[in-house]
Amino acid sequence: MLEQLSVNGKLYAIPFNAGPNVIFYNKKLFQAAGAPEPTANWTVDDFIAAAKATTKNGVSGFAIGQGSTPISTFMAADGHPYADKNGPKLDDPNFRNALQLLVDLSNKYKVAKPLEAAAGGTFPDIDAFSTGQAAMELEGLWDLQHEQQALGKDNVGIAVIPSTSGKSKGFISGSGFGITKSCGDKQKAFRAIAAMTSKSGLEYVTKSQASVPARLDALDAWSANVGSPTFTAVIKQMTGDATPSPVPSDQAQLDTLLTQYEVNAFSGKSTVAEVLQQVKAGLGQ
């Protein structure tokens, strides 16, 4: 996390919340399908089996998100960072495999709806999960409160990201606070940030907000106030052993281009490799 908030080795912001991406699952739909709930060491095969079991009666087993998030998260689960200092690793076979997995979930295993053209900044996957049309989604924990409100607090489970090996690593997309050059009173701003990112400050925030505190020592307060002790185990695994990756400076462009072009992989117009080449051309790499 500290690395994500740094540029050229210099730290520019202090971490505030750590939003590890997890699998959300709908407990009722799992029970109705007789599918076993995910474990801490489930594999991609287990995940596909669960998705197959819950795909019925118009419900999809999984809802695929647009853009780079599902790709980078599945890559991270196996310990592969999706980007390095030169930008996103579009030529990395692991990148290709992650996108191929998403396409296969739709086209080969038929457990998810294919991605279609959609505006950036819309989340058909979240909509599908929160309305009970999909049994699983991959999302940041920031979405927990919203899903609990939509589906009932006891109906939303979270699980680690499935990996090929069964030893899943986390992918963190959190945020932090920095001070701008033009800030009027830098000392005051620093004291405010110090208070917000202190143990007691983060513990206080967990009372009203679902975001996961960036400090491990404030996690117990989070699980007591927002989540449940069973959630804490997932969060500890996802944050304790995360795959570090820099955030490329053209991240927004990467997400836009992936959202546009990956549709062609789902429709069969292009192969996954071709899609990644088109994205690469768009980025001017």
């Binding site: 053209a117 959609a118 546009q260 072009y261 549709v263 117009k269």
Partner: protein, 319 residues
Amino acid sequence: MTFVRLDRAEAEVSSGSVASQNRPRGRLRRRSLEGPRWVGWAFVLPGVIGLAVFIVIPQVASLILGFSNSTLLGGTQFTGTANYVRLLHDPQFLNSVLVTAIFVLVYVPANIAIAMAMALWLKTRIAGRNWLRVIFLIPALSPMVANAAVFRLLFQKDGAVNQGLALIGIGPIPWLSDGNWALAVVIGVSIWQSFGYNMIVLGAGLDSISPDVIAASRIDGAGRLRRLFSITLPLVSPALFFTTVLTVIGAWQTFAQAYVITGGGPGNSTMTIMLYLYQTAFTNNELGYASAIATVLFVIIGVFTLFQLWGQRKWVHYD
């Protein structure tokens, strides 16, 4: 709605042909036009300030930015015509011009034809025609972003449109996953959204045609088609010209429909010039390059509009 050619109207006013016969010419009229010059300026000043602050200054700033490599994060260097050279070799930009040109070519004629047909239909004495006018105008009044969310649900792979088509044995059609179909959806939604406005303007044009002229043509033995093409269309041509000019300008600037329905995809099949401009400025942070695109779009629209103004003398009748 009446359409008046300003130059002619002015000539008629000054030659006195329009002025009331009984009014004592000169005194009354002249007094109202006299007074210190600044009074006139005082009346137009609010408008001029608004025009300068919100239109002229940003336009000029954008024109200047087009010759720089300015970014959203700051730092501006003037790079001469580099942006324009890059535009000529930028496949994404050339694609967006092609996509927008196809959009204009299909959308404008279809929009005007449908609006004209509906206006003619509503001119007949059908029951509830005023209600129908309001109903057809509703799409133009509803926000595009909300419409787009509904259309995405309708057109998705297992959406209502494909379910309906399946009942008659068609499909499923890949509306939002095939480039050509996606562009068709964007064009279709755009027409649905905006034909109502043109219908109202053309309808007003039709209403202003004197019934005597139609009656005279009937007596002369003109059939339905003959009346439509030789009497109605020429008499409504000022309204047709007005709607065409505005529709063409709007078509080149298409943004919202593509932005909210398809995001420019699949691939770049629905990437209009405006959408590419937006992405360049606010996703890629290249303000200078985006400004150059804006200038080119401005020139394209200017050329098309001037061409139409020049061409109107061939088919637009003001009397």
